[in-house]
Symmetry: C2
C-alpha cells in the first residue's frame, strides 16, 4: 500500500496513527500543502477529490477521504465495534467530525499555520470559528466527562478520527484547552497507547 | 423507530428516501428549522449534536448524523457493496459529501431558502460558494459521464446521500445544472426508482 499523506495535516495523520497502532506498513508519499509533490500527485490523478490523504492499494485502486480509509483499515479489528448500533454511533462521530469539528477547529488552526491562508484569517472569522469550535469541543467534553472513549467502553475509530485535529486545537487553533479537562485526559489516554505515533514522528 | 426529521432539509430527506426504497417504516417527527418542535427536541436531549436528523431506536438509543443513519439502515441490503474496497469508496463519497459538497451546495441553497439566514448571503460569499460548488458538481459529473452510479456498477448509499442536496442545487442553490448532463441523467435514474419518494411527499 502507498499513502499519499500531507505531513502537517490532521486528516493524513489520523491514517498514519491508525497504521502505527495496527502495526501495519505503507509506503508514505509526502505531499505537503502547496508543494510541487502535491501538484504532481494531482496532475497524475492520484488524488480523486484533489486532496490528501489517499490510500493507493497494491492493485492501483485509490481510496480518498481520511475517515473512509480509517474504516477500510479498521474493519475487522478491535477499533470497530461489532454491535451495529455502536458502529453507527462511531460513524456518527466521524461524519460529525468532517461536517462540524473539522470546519471550525482544523480550519482555525490552518488559517494561522499555513502562510498562504493567513490573509483569510479576519478577526470576525477567527472569532466566529472560536465560538463555534468551543461549542464542538464542549460536545466532546460532555461525553468524555462520564466515559473514557467516545463510543461504548472501548477505543474505536471515532477516537482516532477526533484525535487528529483535537490534539492540536490549543497550539495551532488557539483554543483554551484548560476549559476541557475531560478532553485532555482522553488525549493523554491516546498518547499513552502502545505503538502511538505523534504528528511529527 | 422514530425519525426526528427536518422536512425541508436534504440531510433528513436522504433518510426518508432510503426508508421508502427499503420499504421500512418509521414514525416521522417533524422538527422544522427554527420551529418550537426542534427547540423542544433539543431541550429534551433528542438531538445529540443539536441538529436533525436523528433516528431513535425502539430501545431509546439515539443515532445522529444522516450518513451514519444511512449506513445503519443500509447494512446488509443491496445499497452497501459487499466488496470492502467498493464499500470504502462508498464511504469516501459520503464523507466528501459532508466535508465538501454540503458546505457549498447545501449551504448556498440554505442561505437563500431560510429567511433567518438571508443576511449572511453576501455577494462575495455567494460567488465563492458558486465557484466551489461548481467544482464539486464537476467531480460528480466526471464520474457519472462514464458510469451510471457513483460506486461500482450499482446504486449504493453514496447515490442516496449525494442525491439529497444535488437534486435541489438548481432550484434552491442557483447552480446552472445545464452544465452537468450526466448528473441530470443520474438524478432522473434515481427519481425513476420503484418506491422513490420526493422531498415534499
Amino acid at each position: 500500500m502507498k499513502l499519499y499523506s500531507m505531513p502537517s495535516s490532521g486528516n493524513s495523520y489520523k491514517v498514519r496513527l491508525l497504521l502505527a497502532l495496527l502495526g501495519r506498513e505503507a509506503e508514505i508519499v509526502d505531499v505537503e500543502d502547496s508543494s510541487p509533490a502535491i501538484a504532481t500527485a494531482k496532475a497524475e490523478g492520484r488524488l480523486p477529490f484533489g486532496k490528501a490523504p489517499v490510500l493507493e492499494l497494491d492493485d492501483g485502486r485509490l481510496l480518498p477521504e481520511s475517515n473512509a480509509i480509517l474504516c477500510y483499515l479498521g474493519e475487522g479489528t478491535g477499533f470497530v465495534p461489532a454491535d451495529p448500533v455502536l458502529k453507527a454511533e462511531m460513524l456518527g462521530w466521524m461524519f460529525w467530525e468532517q461536517n462540524q469539528h473539522e470546519g471550525t477547529i482544523a480550519v482555525r488552526g490552518a488559517l494561522q499555520f499555513y502562510p498562504p491562508r493567513r490573509h483569510l484569517a479576519t478577526p470576525e472569522r477567527m472569532a466566529d470559528l472560536l465560538e463555534r469550535g468551543n461549542a464542538h469541543l464542549q460536545i466532546m467534553e460532555n461525553r468524555l466527562t462520564t466515559c473514557d472513549w467516545l463510543v461504548g467502553d472501548a477505543i474505536s475509530l471515532a477516537d482516532i478520527c477526533l484525535y487528529g485535529y483535537t490534539h492540536t486545537a490549543g497550539e495551532r487553533g488557539g483554543f483554551d484547552m484548560g476549559r476541557f479537562p475531560a478532553i485532555n485526559a482522553w488525549l493523554a489516554r491516546i498518547a499513552a497507547l502502545p505503538d502511538y505515533k505523534g504528528l511529527d514522528t
